[in-house]
Symmetry: C2
Subunit: 796 residues, 2 copies
């Protein structure tokens, strides 16, 4: 605190701290961009190598040809995914899946253990490369979000260590070895600057950088971060996201000369004029509506499949699951390629790019169904988007149009891919849903466009356009976002000419999907996980008819302003609460002596009733008496632990025992309280609520100063420290009256980023407490999208 004098290092309002934060933001963007380039290059190299091997197998005779190709595809794929899954299962379980949901949960205020560690980052990156290049129906976009978030977090902590303890410390700490709790550490520079909310801002910036790197869409990245990922948004966050996203896109352009903005950009379709748009409107509506249906169907299948999946702890089963999917993909691709595929001559540009799988066709031809199933998804999407573009002129000359994929093949692919994709989501391997969703939509749109074109050859119908719009529609059906999606697609495809169609598609697909079920993929996933509490900005419907009293947890454990150490230890050991109210000593310390005779009886009986959901099953041992009284303040478990560790004791009247504390020591202690979790339990905060840190304190024979003291005569004065934790501004804690509506409690809680909201009666006596858990329980299930405003309740 002392080091932060006013005017120090100030240059036009910028202090060194601002600079350090800017540096973190900029580095996040640049390094995320580098990861994206590395990802693209690795996936490209592996895929090319794999397809090269497959190509050789095609030299063989007819019956062996298919079998060899199938086996090669499966074996290579299995090797890749086994490696990736093993890493995930045994080393970094937090890196499974897309990771977007958990990052959302973190940004909402949950602490998710190990989510943003360095090993999660490495495992995510390696796993994504393996998953995408092995041919699984998974994309790199979702993982890029998680990678961006990890990069932001790792950089923040690295910079802390760097500025603090030198380079060597970085490596011991990156891999998340927990530090001993009792080591007294030096003050750290960034520890003081980077608060929890700053860290959240950096992670938000990382999310933007990740998505913008994946799509080559800086603005879309910022909007995705705002619309989907972040729960707290401010102008400052917006600027951080903006800068990180721009720098990551720019880094990609610098490193990868062939990349322009727009990862799924394609050579332009013709423009459509207003007349075309209006005439094709009914077809476009069917196109988008069906895309929305597909998206919703995917969500439903995926949720249903959770019933039959292997549980997280069965490592071998989980690995076999992934290998099974590779087998399925390979089997389906080769079987239908053989049974339903048509041989078509290569278009010119395909040969150059090495796109198209020959499989069982003669030289110079490719099998269209096998190509759809077995090629790189990224390339297939671009090809589907381009259908009906440059082959326009020959059609008018000859009257016959040969699309690069047959109508039947596309229908088959759409159906089967939906199933494969549903199986793929939720495996123990990193992989995202954006790319598969787009591919699913693109194949449906292309199918529908080709049918229309055969039916109405004069109508100037471009299947590629239908593919773009349907791809957008499936994304809308799966994710239920709106503006960010439009911008992502427009920036990603560079198709600003089709803005109107994209908007139409998003609106219709959202509308259709909303009527199948309410939840987007992120929301339903968060609800399924169950151990994070995702609180939405708007209070859910149910809360409008409840009062705060109905949703609060009763039986609040509290402390007096001067409390015996033994009772504090007992409470800390027997509960897992993180916040405790502090009650006034009635009739003694307060200024206005005309005080209330405490009506504690009712409260204590209330507290002793067994209806407390917050305390049941938390731990064994004797339950401490829940005190109650007029509220004075709130103190956190972390603060108590620091006070205990520093032996900050006093006698029954509040006079300090043992040594006196200098101002510097007091400041140190405050800093330690603020940075408690980041110092000792960075990646696994839940440990702080167990008995472990208490055991490490070694409070059996307490040495304060030079004398050994008896624990039973020691007290702690909580007054100087209550209400001074990181989440709340100093002063009194915010409270709410018990007859307030629960919706209002939700608003206060969310908007102020609280973790504990005390509920009081008319005389300011504590009757309960509201935490994230209580709000989440009260909201019920599946409400996320249903929270429209209730009618003003009537309290007759």
């Amino acid at each position: 605190m002392k080091s932060r004098k006013e005017g120090k290092k100030k240059l036009y309002g910028y202090t060194g701290h601002t600079l350090a934060k800017m540096l973190v933001t900029a580095l996040t963007g640049i390094i995320t961009g580098m990861f994206a380039v590395l990802l693209t290059k690795s996936v490209g190299a592996i895929t090319e190598w794999k397809l090269g091997i497959l190509e050789h197998s095609h030299e063989k005779e007819a019956p062996a040809r298919g079998l060899v190709s199938f086996l090669l595809f499966w074996v290579i794929g299995s090797a890749l995914v086994s490696f990736a899954t093993a890493i995930v299962q045994y080393w970094a379980p937090a890196s499974a899946g897309a990771g977007v949901t958990l990052v959302m949960a973190y940004l909402n205020g949950n602490h998710v253990p190990n989510l943003l560690r360095f090993n999660t980052l490495i495992s995510k990156f390696v796993g994504t490369v393996c998953a995408v290049s092995s041919g699984l129906p998974m994309g790199p976009e979702g993982p890029m979000v998680h990678i961006g978030a990890c990069v932001a977090s790792v950089i923040t902590y690295m910079e802390c260590k760097c500025l603090d303890g030198g380079i060597f410390n970085i490596f011991t700490n990156c891999f998340g070895r927990r530090r001993d709790f009792n080591i007294k550490e030096k003050m750290k520079i960034l520890d003081e600057i980077v608060s929890d909310s700053d860290h959240r801002e950096f992670v938000s910036a990382g999310v933007s950088a990740g998505i913008s790197a994946a799509f080559g869409a800086p603005i879309g990245g910022v909007l995705f971060s705002m619309e989907e990922a972040c729960s707290f948004w401010s102008r400052k966050t917006a600027w951080r996201c903006f800068i990180a996203a721009t720098l990551s896109t720019f880094t990609i352009q610098l490193l990868n000369r062939s990349a322009q903005h727009g990862m799924i950009a394609f050579t332009g379709l013709r423009q459509m004029d207003n007349k075309d748009w209006i005439m094709q409107l009914p077809f476009l509506i069917v196109n988008s509506g069906m895309a929305g249906l597909l998206g919703a169907a995917f969500n439903s299948f995926r949720m249903w499949l959770w019933k039959v999946r292997a549980v997280k702890t069965r490592h071998v089963l989980r690995i076999l699951e992934v290998i099974g999917l590779v087998f399925l993909v390979s089997l389906v691709g080769h079987f239908f390629g053989w049974a339903a595929g048509q041989c078509k001559p290569y278009p010119e540009d395909w040969l150059e790019e090495g796109y198209g799988i020959r499989y069982n066709c003669e030289e110079g031809k490719y099998n269209d169904v096998a190509t759809l199933f077995l090629s790189s998804q990224h390339h297939t999407i671009i090809k589907l988007f381009s259908v009906g573009h440059d082959d326009m002129v020959p059609e008018e000359e000859t009257g016959v149009y040969t699309p690069p994929f047959s109508v039947g093949g596309l229908a088959l692919f759409t159906t089967i891919y939906l199933g494969l994709m549903s199986i793929g989501a939720g495996l123990a391997i990193p992989g995202g849903l954006f790319m598969p969703s787009i591919l699913l939509g693109a194949s449906w749109g292309c199918f529908w466009g080709l049918i229309l074109r055969l039916w109405l050859p004069k109508w100037n119908i471009m299947p590629g356009l239908y593919a773009i719009l349907a791809g957008t529609g499936v994304l809308a059906g799966v994710f239920r976002s709106a503006i960010s999606l439009v911008v992502l697609v427009v920036e990603g495809t560079r198709g600003i000419d089709y803005l109107f169609g994209v908007i139409l598609s998003v609106v219709i697909a959202n509308w259709v999907a909303h009527h199948i079920h309410h939840d987007g993929v992120y929301e339903s996933e968060l609800e399924r996980i169950g151990n994070v509490y995702m609180l939405r900005d708007e209070p859910p419907h149910r809360l409008f008819t409840l009062t705060a009293e109905a949703i609060m947890a009763t039986g609040v454990c509290g402390f007096r302003t001067v409390e015996p150490v033994s009772r504090i230890l007992q409470v800390l050991r027997t509960t897992t609460h993180n916040g405790f109210p502090v009650f006034a000593e009635e009739g003694s310390t307060e200024e206005d002596v005309v005080s209330v005779a405490p009506s504690n009886k009712a409260l204590v009986s209330l507290a002793n009733s067994s209806s407390s959901p917050d305390m049941n099953g938390s731990s064994a041992g004797p339950r401490p008496d829940p005190l109650s009284g007029r509220l004075e303040g709130l103190i956190l478990r972390s603060q108590l632990l620091v006070l205990l560790q520093r032996r900050h004791f006093c006698d029954v009247d509040g006079r300090p025992i043992g040594r006196d504390y200098s101002e510097q020591q007091e400041l140190d202690m405050e800093t330690e309280m603020r940075t408690f979790f980041r110092r000792y339990f960075t990646h696994a905060r839940y440990i702080s609520a167990t008995a472990q840190p208490l055991d490490e304190l070694k409070l059996d024979g307490v040495h304060a100063g030079s004398t050994t003291l008896d624990l039973s005569n020691l007290y702690m004065d909580l007054r100087p420290y209550m209400n001074r934790h990181a989440h709340a501004a100093p002063g009194s804690p915010l409270t709410i009256r018990k007859d307030c509506s629960a919706a209002r409690a939700h608003q206060v809680f969310i908007n102020l980023g609280l973790r504990h909201l005390l509920v009081v009666d008319a005389h300011n006596h504590v009757v309960g407490i509201i935490t994230r858990k209580d709000l989440d329980h009260a909201a019920g299930h599946g409400w996320w999208r249903m929270s429209h405003q209730a009618e003003p309740p009537r309290n007759k």
Copy 2:
């Protein structure tokens, strides 16, 4: 309330009300789009007619030619603007200027009298047509925002009337004739549905529709609404904005076949590759930095000029001011056209479009400086954006490049236009700043680009690109927005290829301008207006070091739960407060009888101290005793007025006097309380705080039922009605402890959309109240952009 049974008219979750709201949103979009088309067409027609007349004058001989042209330009312009200014001054003063700031203030929670009336809409539209077509340095974009907001508001109220009282009522009400307060009205359908917050949502949608119609940029419109205009944002608001913006753009495309998306779209410049971008980076930085400087300079000049402008009430002076500006524009254009203009041959496409002013040149040539000053700004911007595009090939052939505007002319124009634009902002005529800002930037960028091109002919420099980026930079310098600006420019110019440059320009210009002064044009304007209280999302710096006690207004006037009517009337007459706390009758009605002896002495003395800023000068007459006590609830002036009007009296024990009320009547009354302002004081809420409604109540001889009662024995029981107003959910009012930090009070206030926040002590006794005014005063001046997080204060 009864009419809103569950399950009624429910179809997939959509009730009739949802449909009605959707209809309002959609109509807002469509009608705003129509206004935009009508505006474009009218301006185009008038400008064409004006230029036609000017063209004829050029047939004359040399000396007379300039004079005649000058006079014609001035006379026609003066006629147009006199008409517009007269309308504004005498009929609809709220329509002056761009209107964006006041709409922002409305959306922040202020009530701005007459801002969203039908006559404001008409005056705004007519005025904008006149201002833009007369050649003043003003654009139609800002006014389109206000027009969209007015359209949304008018449609909402129209639909209310339509569903309620038939068509005839609409016309009597549109023009804002105030209804008599005492007319008992039937229940209205939309009155129940459309709450204040719904109305705000519709207005937000109108803002999006307006800006998206002006730029042809639906996504940009939504983002502008979010980033600049709205203070409250939710997913629902986002969807409304999205739909309205899309429909308005679509309407324009349907009605105006020549319009594609992108109002300032131009035929494409060549693409620049990465190498070009990096080589030109230093020039681009200078370009954007200078643009930011220009924007900041404009803001400073504009604010300085307020000192010498005519005051609002001097009608004739205000009209003369505008005529003077037309004179100046005309004089400057003709003089410099004559003194510094060069005659250049028309490029091919200019003649077709009728662009370019011949002035004193021979047949087939145009005067470039006169063209810059006197043409339609919209066309000039497009021409500047296209400089250096299609004339690339001839240059390489001949080695000589003739730009359509001379370097000197552009420099002259940039300088003088900055002055004209500064004078133009703040006149009594509708007109926006977007278009002039872009023009200013474009001319600077074009100048800079041309210089670079002459200096470095091999470097592949496109002045048009520099013009786009500088235009964006000036916008950023003036408005200080970020993401919405990028999207607006990209959508408006359809130049997605220059995304990187646009982002760079916005960041640099913002950075530069921020160091000149902190406020964007909207913020400084809001601060200047002074009678609206704009509260930002993030608490300003100063509040972090204050407590709630330090910023609250003391001397709160309150009522007991059962209060004599005479005292209520006295309080209502002698104060202008809108909310009053209700205190518990100590020791009587409360459940727990072990109650506090009220320590009222200190409080009363506090209240009587003269430090109350909220009550000083509010009205004459004897001051009522400010009661105090333990807080029970909050009641609003509007509720008291309704209760008084309905003669809802009781005796001293709370037993009703006169007739009993049926349930239906009670419901009616509650509806009336909720919709009070919309019913009686739609466009001028401040009247409700005057004595006028009290006079209209005619409470001298009170008839309750059939007996005439003496006023002195009548009481009102406030308990059933307190805490039931529109802004607060039922239950207890939200309070804050006096030792809470003021920043936290700000957060609670803003995030929950409060109007009154009561401050209590540890025993729940009211010690003060915080309103918008108090927060605004406490924040000080010019803090808007400086609100970075303060260090955690230490309360030693």
